[in-house]
């Protein structure tokens, strides 16, 4: 991949401008420093492509040139890499399971989530957040949309942090963005979509998942499909199902195809508390031409099921399309492997999509071979992922997660509230500027000590109860034993610089979770 403005050109141009305007040495130097940082940002391609040139730290000498390296360089153990990559964060329990099963066995284990007993968590959530197990009719009658929204958001973070089905949680986050529905627009029916559409199919079959979303009341309301009627159809869903859900933007369809698909889908609507319905009175029975296929005209007496079937046929064309295989393969490889996954991996994953008829676990296996994973650079945790990994790494005991979740939302990723239909960005440049929110979240989390809400106990970290003991426990519990030496030294230095106390230990936990080494997976 090439940018039009490569960093050297940009820096030269910038310096030339600086020279022309002001050639005093000090100004020029400051300016050049700024331009260097600018160029680095401007040309962000992949993590490993970044150079080490940049500004000097005001906190002392920076690392010598060339010493900046991808966080994954420290990650020698393939099994630990896999745990990092397919969970919401390392815990000693998870590492023990993974070591017992080995790389392939551990991946198998998580690709079969229904075989993992998660009933304790389900029971706890049903008791603590009863709204999350209500039927659509009960939800409609419940009336408190605010509580529904809070319960859904709480349960998402709680499951992410504490479900044993960790890869499922990573895939739920992925599909939640791929099939984004803003809670602000649709209200309680997003809870139904999350439970019965996204979670039910997160490691199932993509084609089944896509078809389920096309009959999800929340999706139809979110993208205005429920109102689309002949003779003036609404194009919102027809466009996004191709651009965002299947083919990818401009990948083999035209503006005319958008208009024709919107005609085909007229009548796909909702009734009652967000239930799917087909209303033949809203449907356009005229002849259509979609992606080169003719859909003949129908008459008023054509059975409703037949009228609806042309929408199903059009959606079948989309999920069978090779561009859908390519697009889903690219997005999944980006999610699971690297911001810019190797084309060969994307191609193999697209082939897996076609040969397995859209089986998600087959695609995951193709992407996450040990060879691929050992060669891939680290990815940067998005705020939701970071919050879950902080809770996991610190061993939080959670009775009521709400205040922690609301605090986590301030990091910039309240999980069901991205307004546009493309989902939260999976790009480092979107997220990396907002470090302050991450640091203050961890400072807050490490100090939580209320049994009725969230409790971080320092006791497991104080074994033995010395500064070095705490650092060793952090290395084991939060970093799976692979904690870089530089971080060990930095944490020990901080811990020993003040009086050893529970408060100082908590601060050290917060620094460990705020450290750059904890931000990657």
């Amino acid at each position: 991949m090439r940018t039009n403005l490569d960093s050297d050109t940009m820096e030269q141009d910038a310096e030339a401008v600086a020279d022309a305007i002001d050639s005093t040495p000090s100004r020029r130097r400051f300016f050049a420093m700024g331009a260097g940082a600018a160029a680095a940002l401007a040309t962000t391609r992949t993590v490993e492509a970044q150079s080490s040139k940049g500004r000097t730290s005001p906190f002392g000498p920076t690392a010598p040139a060339g010493s900046k390296q991808d966080a994954s360089v420290e990650w020698k153990d393939p099994v630990l890499r896999l745990v990092r990559r397919i969970t919401m964060g390392l815990t000693t329990e998870e590492v023990t399971i993974a070591r017992g099963l080995g790389y392939a066995g551990y991946l198998d284990y998580h690709l079969n989530p229904d075989r993992i007993d998660d009933s304790a968590l389900d029971t706890a959530l049903a008791a603590r957040l009863p709204v999350t197990v209500m039927t659509p009719a009960q939800l409609a009658a419940f009336g408190d949309n605010n509580e529904v929204a809070n319960s859904l958001s709480d349960s998402a973070l709680y499951r992410a942090a504490f479900s044993k089905r960790q890869l499922k949680e990573r895939m739920v986050e992925f599909w939640t963005d791929h099939f984004t529905i803003s809670l602000n627009k649709v209200g309680f029916i997003k809870l139904v979509d999350d439970r019965d559409v996204i979670r039910a199919n997160a490691i199932g079959n993509f084609k089944t998942l896509l078809k389920a979303t096309s009959k999800s009341g929340a999706m139809l309301v979110y993208l205005d499909q429920n109102r689309s009627r002949t003779p003036t159809p609404n194009q919102n869903y027809a466009r996004e199902i191709m651009e965002l859900h299947t083919l990818g933007v401009d990948a083999g369809y035209s503006q005319t195809d958008v208009a024709e698909l919107s005609r085909i889908l007229t009548g796909w609507t909702t009734q009652g508390p967000g239930n799917f319905a087909f209303d033949p009175n809203m449907h356009d029975r005229g002849a259509k031409m979609f992606l080169g296929r003719a859909f003949p005209a129908m008459v008023a007496t054509t059975p409703a099921a037949t009228q609806m079937a042309e929408g199903e046929a059009a959606i079948q064309m989309l999920v069978d399309h090779p561009n859908t295989a390519k697009y889903i393969a690219l997005k999944m490889a980006r999610w699971l492997l690297a911001y810019t996954p190797p084309q060969a991996v994307v191609d193999a994953t697209a082939a897996a999509y076609l040969s397995s008829n859209g089986d998600i676990s087959t695609m995951v296996r193709t992407i996450l071979s040990a060879t691929n994973l050992m060669a891939s650079p680290a990815k940067y945790k998005r705020p939701f992922h970071l919050a879950a990994s902080g809770l996991r790494g610190m061993g939080a005991q959670v009775t009521n997660i709400r205040s922690v979740r609301q605090r986590a939302d301030q990091m910039g990723q309240p999980i069901f509230y991205w307004e546009q239909p493309n989902g939260y960005p999976d790009r480092i440049d979107w997220w990396s500027g907002l470090v302050l929110g991450r640091w203050s979240f961890m400072a807050d989390l490490a100090n939580r000590n209320v049994a009725a809400q969230t409790q971080i106990s320092t006791a497991p970290f104080r074994m033995p109860d010395t500064a070095d003991g705490v650092v060793a426990q952090i290395a084991t519990r939060m970093f799976g034993g692979e904690m870089p030496a530089v971080l060990k030294t930095q944490l020990a230095t901080y811990l020993k610089a003040g009086t050893y106390s529970d408060a100082r230990v908590r601060e050290t936990l917060s620094l460990a979770a705020s450290a750059t080494q904890f931000q990657w997976f």
Partner: protein, 471 residues
Amino acid sequence: MRASVKRCRSQRAPRSSSGSDVDRSSLLTVLRVVRMTDEHFDNACTEYHSLARRDFLTTAAGVGIAAMLPTWLPSVVLAQTSSSSRDIILSVFLSGGVDGMSLVAPFGDPDYYTGRPTIAIARPDAAGNGPKLTALDNFFGFAPGMTPLMPAYAAGDLLVAHATGSVNTSRSHFDAQRYMEVGKPADASLTSGWLGRHLATSTPIRSNAPLRALGLTTGMPQTLAGAPRALPVPNPANAAVGGSNATGVARSQWLGSNYATANDPVSSNALDTTNTMSLLQLINFVGYAPANGAVYPSTGFGNALKSAAALIKADVGIEAIHAFNGGWDTHAAQGPIATLDGGYMHGKMLDLSGALAAFYADVIQGTTSYGVTVVVVSEFGRNARENGNRGTDHGRGNVAFAMGKKIAGGKVMTNGWPGLARENLENGQDLRVTLDHRDILAEVVQNRLGNPNLGIVFPSFTPKIRGVTKP
């Protein structure tokens, strides 16, 4: 830390540096404020104070220091009021594709009314007391929700452009927005933003500013990508590392050195953050009192613009601020007036225009101390005709706005109104784009931001200077 610096301001100290070293010593001062620990405090504070005092004395010309300082701004770190003739820019992106024909309706085009039988807004001269347009000239009018901007328009400080937008015909929100933010249509490989490249190719207005640009956003807007010293700061009033105050400085220092070895952009972002944190903490956003009786709406966007005003007036070297205002994807029941479908879009317009009008009164109107230009764009307009849900689908030509003392406003600029008759519409459905929005931005960059490098800011584009700005 804020308390420490405040205490420090009451001290008196001799000058320690002279004119030619201003930039360097100012930078050192900023860095020392960041680095200040208990043992370094006195020394850093002395330097800090002497610099601040000298600069105040320079600009205050005999006026007492206390009189110079508004009460909401207890401490000014870089208090050398800028003598730059270059403007600060506030860039607003209306995401979702705003229906410009509702914001600024072409009542002089009869096809506006035939194409939009239920959502068109009544002519300014319509009978009755119902909602109607407010004429901007004999062809265009503001929707009722936009009228808070009439004072800026009447004063000649607000320019409305119409039938403008991108030459790229994508009706995808994300492609269209991306191309607009990077400033070059249909180039998928370009990742830096037009405003980012402006900043990268211009000298800082203050060479010692720790932060030159910020997005009042939860992530880095692509418009600013590539800018040196730029960060997303969703809430400038809450720029703290959290936890115990007693150890806050020590933990900030720890994090600064920990992130020094990280890869970019993480490392440079963290460095900018630690440098900026102390600066933002010195500004009392909560107690900020807008000038001129301006009242910002108590909304996310209103608060963002209020923070922008405080940052500009704090005079800390911010040159560019970017904000999003979303929720304009009105496919159904768009409600451009209060009495239709609950008036969703009417409320959105009141929020937008109310915040911009407050910003105008607070920062632009009647002042000459801060040169500020505002630009407002959106990824595309919406269909000329309404759909079956009293909404509009993705379209093309749209409105854009520029506002400032040096903007040649008080008029609606077009490059010829293409007309809304079906034969004049793009693809038979959309208002055509006859005015490349980059003409507007480029003229602002060149004439108000003082950057002649238009070939870098807008690659492969030769802008036409259309009289957006005035001398």
